[in-house]
Symmetry: C2
């Protein structure tokens, strides 16, 4: 059982909710449509506050038709960067991050060696393309590898918020830091449960 909350519960959103076609389909056919539909629902839920890191919000604006966005967007979806100069993270986090990166660096080298050994046997352009793909998968998937990823998890931590993302790296580190998270595919149902329950938190 959770202790009773005396303030609004907070939710931190990643762009994938609106941008990734697989996950936004519940909300709309385009990023702009998905945002509009989200706003219609979100405004009916006074029990929740919605946030997006400013860096992620900037990314989102590249995918939408800004003239079509309702004025209520900025009132409902708050932009906020984490307080990165005041916040701290547990030191063991560093050990795990460096351990993970070290493994990935070794994996990257093995992929490069394999590609060099295959050179001459297959088409060079194709070989390099495949190597790039394997290398990026090995070194970047499932790890927080950008300032935007760090913004997401730190903001969720700072606000004690629910994190809504499909990013495996962000989810992995959310787990390590005790941050609640939800896959965007379940998010519309989650929101609707607040409305059906008459604004109270779902039991």
């Amino acid at each position: 059982m959770k202790p009773a909350r005396h303030r609004k519960d907070r939710v931190v959103l990643d762009t994938s909710l609106f941008v990734n076609p697989d996950v936004r389909s519940a909300f709309g056919g385009s990023p702009t449509e998905a945002i509009k539909e989200f706003l219609v629902i979100a405004r009916k839920i006074p029990a929740l506050e919605f946030y997006m890191p400013s860096s992620i919000f900037k990314e989102l604006l590249n995918f939408v038709d800004q003239r079509e966005l309702p004025g209520s967007l900025l009132a409902v979806l708050h932009q906020k960067a984490p307080s990165k100069h005041e916040m701290t993270c547990p030191a063991f986090f560093l050990y795990e991050l460096i351990d993970d990166i070290r493994d990935r660096i070794n994996k990257g080298l093995r992929i490069a060696e394999k590609a060099v050994r295959s050179a001459g046997k297959v088409d060079e352009r194709e070989l390099i393309q495949n190597m790039r793909k394997s290398y990026r998968e090995a070194l970047r998937e499932g790890i927080i590898d950008s300032a935007e990823d760090v913004d997401l998890i730190l903001l969720a931590k700072e606000l004690d918020a629910l994190l809504v993302t499909v990013d495996h790296g962000a989810i992995t580190w959310a787990e390590k830091l005790g941050i609640r998270w939800l896959l965007p595919g379940k998010f519309k149902d989650y929101l609707l449960s607040f409305i059906q329950d008459g604004q109270s938190a779902p039991s």
Copy 2:
């Protein structure tokens, strides 16, 4: 000017002080000799306390003749792991680490691509050896890339100690965290200044 210190000043040592032939020469011709000479000097300086992370101490034992080590070693050079489950690090540290790693990952891929393009033109074995060297330099030099490196900087931070190391990665991050550091080449002079000043801290 530093504020007056009311407790012993602390020093955290890396293995390089005893193991790296270039830097240990002031202390002795072999790691074992260097440790013995260090102990002779260190015992004359009650104003300083010496520490080494347990993980680094274990590494050191691989380089020395343990039967020849004086019993005073463990009394003078304290082994201590950092309190990694209680300590925290500033969140901006994460941003800088991830930014640094991201650049290095891209650099590693460019090195791999260059090697694939050179395949067939030069000896494969030599090509792979050179690629490994460039790759490791690009991805690992100047970065904290092992648990032992993290131990070093966190222990120095925890103890508010002077860090004695040649590791570029550790020095870079010591700077970010406001940790004092000294190159081992200057360390014998540093120690002797305490003895010449009659046990008081150098002015």
